[in-house]
Symmetry: C2
DNA sequence: CAGGCATATAGCTACTTGGTTATATAGGTG
DNA sequence: CACCTATATAACCAAGTAGCTATATGCCTG
């Protein structure tokens, strides 16, 4: 799972994933959108591939990259117990502010 | 946000967070649980502090570290659009398996 | 105030990483 | 086959990181 976190620690890679969330794309598109060199982009794609976050299919000379959501679902599962905690806090806060209008929630 | 992802990319740091999820603890506890040197542990704690994932309060000579959930909530928000995607897939799967015994219990 | 305990910082080293340019590989097309 | 397009890999460099040991800081206690 470490490789997933590490892969997501880079802003360029996160941006690439967001692009791929819309639809699968060839490398050229990602090169254009990141503004990095083509080899640089390929290097990032390798990291994402090694982490299992994307898969590539070959189409003539092009490699079409697509998201694989499973590692993200794993992160989501990791977050779950923490999420329960802050949801509990929010519930409490909500109860506390029950009858008020508060634009800026604060730590008690 | 990059600092949050980067902080979580290290297994020792994730383990420390899991410890702190149970309750706030002094550094000594974390040293013991990680098996790292004390300075090494302190270094990791600094990364977590800089990312805002933990806060420390001083209590005599001890520093008691506690989780701050807010950066994790941010990650959760980042995951949201992806989550929608895999939930949609799961919905589809579910429909497909409609008349069978459901192995994955769900939130009511 | 001396000494001990708990933690942080400094300073070092080996390794990893993000970026580059140059080159290799693979497929399409004249 | 010669060449072009698209992508990957190699080789290199600067900067960052994870670990260590040694040292500084801060607080308590006798």
């Amino acid at each position: 799972m470490t490789s997933t976190w590490a892969a997501l620690a880079d802003p360029h890679r996160r941006a690439m994933l967001e692009l791929l969330r819309e639809s699968p794309r060839p490398v050229g598109d990602l090169v254009a959108s990141t503004g990095l060199s083509q080899p640089g982009t390929s290097k990032h794609l390798r990291v994402l591939r090694d982490a299992g976050l994307v898969v590539a299919r070959t189409e003539a000379q092009r490699r079409i990259y697509a998201l694989d959501l499973r590692p993200l679902a794993e992160l989501d599962a990791w977050l779950e117990p923490y999420r329960r905690r802050w949801e509990r806090s929010l519930d409490a806060l909500e109860q506390h502010l029950d009858s008020q209008t508060s634009p800026t929630p604060k730590e008690p």
